[in-house]
């Protein structure tokens, strides 16, 4: 609160209790203590008439992960907004440079922790390109199968978060139950429930086993109606629909200029899906549609993800039907030393195009591993979507873009 006189408190110094310090406490103004470094910063941190800063996060209940958003509000209306990142930065790229190719995969896992397989996938593909490995088709099918399962789990969680940020308590738990079944069966397949270090260079770690298949079959029989029942709570709810419609609208030109991908781009009508527009793995052999919607608002993004879940179910069904026999790992030396070269691989993660760019210098460790995370890009466009809406919608828009801070902060 902008009080003219700074609130100060006298306390004994920690070093020498005889020294009494007069320190300013209780006030936190989000304005950085140093002069603005860039044009944009100067523009943002000058208050207009009747405006004030509101500092959301990093301990705000509904910023997914540790994100800090400095919001410039006029009454309840958000006039401008500046996300501050780096609270979760772990330097994964540097870690990958200092660990060999197998370890790098494991470091990539906790980036998008709700859909961890999609972080391993592009890295594995890039490494395979680097060392010209051809992956057995069964392994490719298993990758697609597990990936689509995880896509459903991630979207289910998205719906829960969406409702939670709008103040609905129930859907988050229903979607966690839905996600828990999938995660349990993936745990039976990969051996871990959340950070499955499952995709390996040249295949996958371990073939399909009986427990996984039985769980999967059990789940597939009721997946559709269970999912419909869960989303039935929100889809027709007037309060929900009225809040989401025309909220955070973005047209396709802007979306392309903002480098948006995935559902957020498809919600604006651009049918860009890496699975189709730049096919990888065995997706060319599978039959599924790319759902798109023309109005690019939060409701469209929400409904689009519901359609994607149905497509993923179709893909899983086909995978189970066409699953070929054969090995799940290519023959590889224990110590991988690819020839010097560069490789770029991208997959369609639940949040968009998740890409890795790997450079090899001939040693057993990647020379450079660039991680391109869609959440990073989408979080950037919040500043574009928000102005003119209310504080209450900040979290709604952010939830509809569905960023994962683990991936944003690398």
């Amino acid at each position: 609160m902008a009080t003219s006189a700074p609130i100060s408190r006298r306390r004994a110094s920690a070093d020498d209790p005889r020294v009494i310090l007069e320190e300013q406490v209780g006030v936190f103004e989000p304005v950085p203590p140093f002069p603005p470094r860039t044009e944009r910063e100067a523009e943002f941190y000058t208050l207009g008439d009747g405006e004030m800063f509101l500092n959301m996060g990093p301990q705000h209940p509904s910023t997914h992960g540790v994100l800090r958003v400095v919001v410039k509000i006029n009454g309840e209306v958000v006039t401008d907004l500046d996300p501050v990142l780096g609270y979760l930065h772990r330097g994964v790229e540097k870690l990958c440079e200092n660990s060999d190719y197998h370890q790098a995969i494991c470091y990539l896992d906790p980036l998008e922790y709700v859909s961890a397989l999609f972080c391993e996938w592009p890295a594995v593909m890039a490494f395979e390109k680097l060392m010209d490995v051809t992956v057995p088709r069964r392994a490719e099918y298993i990758r697609v199968l597990s990936g689509e399962l995880l896509r459903i789990a991630s979207h289910a969680l998205f719906m829960g978060w969406m409702a939670l940020d709008l103040g609905g308590l129930t859907p988050i738990l229903w979607s966690f139950i839905e996600r828990d079944e999938i995660v349990e069966m993936l745990g039976a397949l990969t051996g871990a429930r959340m950070l499955f270090n499952y995709y390996r260079i040249g295949g996958v770690n371990g073939d399909l086993n009986h427990e996984f298949m039985s769980r999967l079959g059990d789940w597939m029989t009721r997946a559709t109606e269970q999912h419909d029942a869960n989303v039935g709570l929100l889809n027709e709810n007037e309060i929900f629909v009225r809040r989401m419609r025309d909220l955070g609208r973005v047209d396709r030109e802007t979306a392309l200029r903002m480098c948006m991908t995935g559902p957020n781009l498809r919600a604006t009508g651009v049918p860009f899906d890496v699975r189709r527009s730049h096919p990888y793995s065995v997706y060319p052999e599978l039959d599924f549609d790319i759902p798109t919607r023309d109005e690019g608002d939060c409701l469209a993004r929400y409904l689009l993800r519901l359609d994607e879940v149905k497509q993923s179910l179709r893909i899983i069904d086909q995978c189970l039907n066409q699953m070929p026999d054969g090995p799940v790992m290519a023959k590889l030396p224990r110590l991988l030393r690819p020839r010097p070269g560069r490789a770029y691989a991208a997959v369609e993660s639940p949040r968009g195009q998740y890409a890795n760019y790997a450079i090899s210098d001939g040693t057993d460790q990647p020379f450079r591993l660039r991680i391109h995370d869609p959440s990073f890009i989408h979080l950037q466009s919040v500043g574009l979507l928000m102005p003119g809406h209310l504080i209450a919608d900040t979290m709604a828009v952010m939830a509809s873009l569905d960023p994962i801070m683990g991936g944003v902060d690398k």
Partner: protein, 183 residues
């Protein structure tokens, strides 16, 4: 590998290319100098037979000898990823024009490249550190970045990392640095 794209690129940018057009798997790669970046990017973005409307990735690279900025583009006119490498940026003061005039979404990626490599993107109006704290002095992903030196400068100086605590004394990088200085 898309031969037609290669021919098109050679025909269009033959003069500005600083190296041959390389193709491997599903990637096509051209190298240009930082000065030509604006022209090349605009041409790639606008011209009807290229139409690379979608910036897939923007990465900074420290090749040890020079800095690079690597752009990955996607277009419906080709099944390949197009990789544009802006090469030979000086390591001490790397400068390159920004591409935010084409893709505003490149802003944060450029911020990240600046934060990690110290590459200055001219024309990016929000070139701040994005991951590291604002008072941070070094650029972590450069090859000459070394944690011990950085820790000596950072507020956490004097904090022993666990690996340092466990590892033999003469193997700690601090000692190494001392040896290097002594030698």
């Amino acid at each position: 590998m898309d031969r037609a794209l290669r021919r098109r690129l050679e025909a269009r940018f033959g003069d500005v290319l600083s190296g041959p057009v390389r193709q491997r798997h599903d990637e096509t790669e051209i190298r240009i100098g930082p000065a030509d970046l604006t022209v090349v990017m605009r041409a790639l973005h606008d011209e009807p037979d290229l139409r690379f409307r979608f910036l897939a990735d923007l990465a900074g690279v420290d090749s040890g000898s020079a800095m690079q900025v690597v752009y990955h583009l996607w277009s419906e006119t080709t099944p390949d990823w197009l990789r544009v490498i802006a090469d030979n940026l000086p390591r001490d003061d790397a400068r390159i024009p920004s591409v935010t005039f084409l893709w505003k979404g490149a802003e944060w990626m450029e911020r990240e490249a600046y934060d990690m490599f110290g590459i200055t993107f001219e024309g990016n109006r929000d070139l701040r550190r994005i991951y590291m704290p604002p008072d941070y002095t070094s650029f972590p992903l450069r090859k000459d970045f070394f944690l011990a030196d950085d820790a000596a400068r950072s507020p956490g100086a004097g904090v022993r990392h666990m690996e340092r605590t466990h590892s033999p004394r003469n193997a700690t990088p601090a000692a190494v640095v001392r040896q290097a200085k002594g030698a």
